[in-house]
C-alpha cells in the first residue's frame, strides 16, 4: 500500500521554514549552474562564430593588432590581382580595405571610458563579411556620418542606441543600425564609412589598416599565402580570419576558460554539498516519523517512495525557481579586454530552453540522490529501534 501523496505535500507545508530553505538552496544551485553554463555557451559561441576559414586577413608583418598595421593603396591594388580571390557577379574581387582605430566610449557597467574598436569599411564590405546582419535600422549610407553598431557594443556603451548621435573625433555620428554577426568579435565593434573615418582621424586617404579577402575556397589559403609571401612589394602576413581572431582572444580565452572552470568546479561542489545537506538534514531528523509509518504497516518500498517523492517535489520547485531567477540574465552582456588591441570585447549570456531543462535535471539529480541516503537508512533501521532513537 503506497503512502498517500498528500502526506508528502502536507509534510512540505508543515515544515515551512526548512522546506523553504531547501527550495531556496536548490534554486541557488540551479541559478549558478545556469549562469555559469550560459556564460560558457555565450563565450564559446563568440569564439566559434568569429571568423570564417575562407576569409583572409592581411596585415603588415609583425602587427599584433589591426590598428598597428599599415597598408598602402598600391599594395591593396596588388593584392586584388592575386588568384584564388572570389569575385562578385561584375567580376570585382571581394577585397575589403578597412581602417581600424580605437576610441573611448562610456562603459555602462564599469562607469568609465573604455576603448571600443571602430572600423571604417566600404559599403561593399558586407560581401566579404556575409555573417554580418543588420537586426535593427539599416547599414550606413556612403558619405553619411553614420554608425552601424554591433549588438554587444550597443549594450556595453552608453549612447549607442538606434537613432542617437554620438561624438567621434569632433564629428557627430548618428547610429543608423544595429548589427549581429553570430556572436563574433564584430558584435563588439562600431562600423562606419571608410573615407569619413580616415578624414575624421586625419589619415591619408590612400592608407588602410588591414584588408579582408574572400577566397574561392578555404583550401586555397596556403597557395594564396604563398603568393603574398613571395611578392616583394608586400611585407604582409596573411592569416585566416578564424586563426587571427583566435590569436586576438587567446589571453581572454585562457583567462575565462581556466578561471571560469576553476571557480565553476568549486562552486558546483559547494552547491552539491549545500543541496545535499539541506535535503539530507530535513529527512535524517525524521527517522522516527518514517519508522512510525513502517510500524503502522506501510511497506519499505512505499516509505522510500514517499521520501523520494518529497525530495522530488522540493528539488523540482527549487529547479523551477532557479530557472526563473536566472532567466532575466539571458542576453546579459559580459565584457572584457582584448589584450591584443586593448579594446573591449563582449559576449552575451546564452540561456536556451535546453539549458533550463538541464538545470532542472541537475536539481532533480542532486535532490533525489540526497533523499536516497536517509531513505535507505530508514529501511535499514528496524521500526522498533528507530522509534526508540531520539
Amino acid at each position: 500500500m503506497p503512502v498517500p501523496y498528500t502526506y508528502s505535500l502536507n509534510s512540505i507545508k508543515a515544515r515551512k521554514s526548512s522546506s523553504a530553505i531547501a527550495i531556496l538552496c536548490i534554486a541557488g544551485v540551479v541559478c549558478v549552474f545556469i549562469v555559469v553554463m550560459a556564460m560558457a555557451n555565450g563565450f564559446n559561441k563568440m569564439l566559434k562564430s568569429t571568423g570564417s576559414e575562407d576569409n583572409v586577413i592581411i596585415l603588415r608583418k609583425g602587427s599584433s593588432a589591426e590598428m598597428m598595421s599599415i597598408i598602402s593603396k598600391e599594395q591593396y591594388k596588388a593584392v586584388g590581382d592575386i588568384m584564388f580571390i572570389k569575385r562578385d557577379s561584375e567580376g570585382n574581387p571581394l577585397v575589403s580595405p578597412e581602417v581600424v582605430v580605437v576610441a573611448p566610449f562610456f562603459h555602462k557597467s564599469t562607469k568609465t571610458n573604455a576603448l571600443g574598436q571602430v572600423r571604417g569599411v566600404l559599403p561593399s564590405a558586407l560581401k566579404v563579411h556575409p555573417q554580418v546582419k543588420i537586426i535593427k535600422g539599416r547599414f550606413f549610407n556612403e558619405g553619411m556620418y553614420e554608425f552601424v553598431v554591433g549588438k554587444n557594443a550597443a549594450n556595453m556603451y552608453e549612447g549607442l542606441e538606434l537613432g542617437k548621435e554620438i561624438n567621434l573625433g569632433g564629428r557627430k555620428f548618428k547610429v543608423s543600425g544595429i548589427m549581429e554577426s553570430g556572436g563574433s568579435l564584430y558584435e563588439s565593434e562600431i562600423w562606419c564609412d571608410l573615407k569619413l573615418l580616415q578624414e575624421t582621424y586625419k589619415r591619408p586617404l590612400n592608407v588602410f589598416s588591414t584588408m579582408f579577402v574572400k577566397l574561392n575556397s578555404k583550401n586555397d589559403f596556403l597557395k594564396f599565402k604563398e603568393m603574398i609571401d613571395k611578392d616583394p612589394r608586400l611585407n604582409f602576413d596573411a592569416k585566416t580570419e578564424k586563426s587571427f581572431f583566435e590569436e586576438q582572444s587567446r589571453v581572454v580565452t585562457t583567462l575565462i576558460r581556466v578561471l571560469g572552470f576553476l571557480v565553476a568546479a568549486v562552486m558546483a561542489v559547494g552547491a552539491v554539498f549545500a543541496a545535499f545537506n539541506t535535503i539530507y538534514t530535513s529527512f535524517a531528523s525524521r527517522v522516527k516519523e518514517l519508522a512510525t509509518l513502517r510500524a503502522i504497516g506501510f511497506s519499505q518500498e512505499s516509505v522510500i517512495g514517499t521520501i523520494l517523492f518529497e525530495s522530488f517535489i522540493l528539488s523540482l520547485s527549487g529547479g523551477i525557481l532557479g530557472c526563473l531567477i536566472s532567466l532575466p540574465l539571458d542576453n546579459f552582456s559580459a565584457s572584457t579586454l582584448n589584450f591584443q588591441s586593448f579594446s573591449q570585447v563582449a559576449f552575451s549570456f546564452d540561456i536556451s530552453l535546453k539549458l533550463l531543462l538541464e538545470g532542472i535535471l541537475f536539481a532533480l539529480v542532486i535532490g533525489v540522490s540526497a533523499g536516497f541516503i536517509p531513505a535507505i537508512r530508514s529501511t535499514k533501521l528496524k521500526p522498533a529501534q528507530a522509534l526508540r532513537e531520539t
Partner: protein, 379 residues
Amino acid sequence: MKYLFLLKANIKRKKIRTFLTLGSYFAAFLLFGLLAAIQSAFHQGVDVAGANRLVVANKTSLIMPLPLSYKEKIAQISGGKNVTFASWFGGYYQDPKNFFAQMAVDSETYFDVYKEFKVDKNQFLNFLKDRQGCVIGKKTAEKYGFKIGDRIPIIASIWGGVWEFNLRAIYTGTKPEDDLTQFLFHASYLEERRAWGKGMVGWYIVETKSPDLTYSVSKEIDRKFSNSSYETKTDTEKAFALGFVKQIGNIELIILSIGAIVFVTLLLVTSNTMEISVRERSGEIAVLKTIGFSDKLLYFLTISESLFYSLSGGLLGMLTAKLFTLKGDPTGGFLPAFYVSSNQFALGMFLIIFFGFLSGALPAYRVYKLKIVDALGRI
C-alpha cells in the same frame, strides 16, 4: 576543557551531517580563497604601483608608440627625478602557451625607477656589457629552469625570426606581489635589429621627486606634447593600473558575484543544519538545564560547536586554496600574481569566525531561551 567530550559527542552524533556541514564550509572557503587569488591577480598592478611613478603613454592607445626623442624632453621637466622607458616585445619561448612578458627597456635607468626589483651588482654589470644580455624575474627563471649564462631563444611574433639572448642576471622582489615574471633586455638591441618602428618606444615611466609632485608633473608632460603628432596621456602608475583593471570589464564582477551567491547559500545551509540539529536535541538540552547547566553555558557550547564546524571546514578550505595558489598561476603565465595575500587570508579567517558565530547565533539563542518545562513536556 572539560566540556570537550560533550562537543565531541555532538559532532559525532550524525556523521553524515557533520561531513556535509564541514564540506559546505570547506567548499565555501576554498571558493573564497580562489576568488581572493583571482582578485589579487586582476589588481596586481594596482598593489605594486609606486606612489611617485608616472606612466606616459600614447594618448590614442597604449599599443601606439611614442618617439624616443621624448626622453630628453621629459627629463628636462622639473620635479621629475628618473626617466626610463620600455617597449613591448611580444614574443614567446618555444610555444605560444609559454607566456611571460618580454620588454625591451632602457637598461641603464630601468632599475633606478623600479627600485623594488633587486639585482646582484656583478650580474647587473655583466648584463650592461652584453649587447644580447637579458634580466629575468626569479619566478620565470625557476619555472623554465633558466640559469645564468644560458642562451635563451625567443620567437618574436611581432618582429619575426628567432632572437637569442644571454641570461646575465636574475632579479628578485621585495614584496610578495612584485611581478617576478618579466623578461627584460636592452632597448638598444631591439632598435638595432628591428626592421621598422625605429626611433619609437612603447611608454615612459617617470619617477617624481616626491608623490606630491605627480599631479603637476603629469600635467606638464601632457601639455608639453599636446598638439604634436604623438600626444601623450600621463597617469600615476596606480591610476593607470586601475584604469586597466576597469578595462578588464565586468568579467571579474560576474565571477565575484556568482561566487558571493554560492558563498551566502552555503552559509544559509550551515546555519539551517545547525538549527535543525539543535531543535532535534531540545529534549537533551532541557535535561542539561534541569541538571543545572546555565543558559549562558549552553549558549556558549552551541556557539562552540558551530565554530568548530566553521573553523575546521573553513581553514581546510583556505589552506587548500593557498596550496593551490602556491602551485602558481593556473593560466600558465597570464596572471603573474595569483596568490592569496596575508590580508586576504586574515579576512578569510575573520569571515570563518564571523560566520561560525553567525550560523550558531540563532540556534544558540534558541537554546538560551529554551524553557525546561516546555521542552520536557515534548518528550
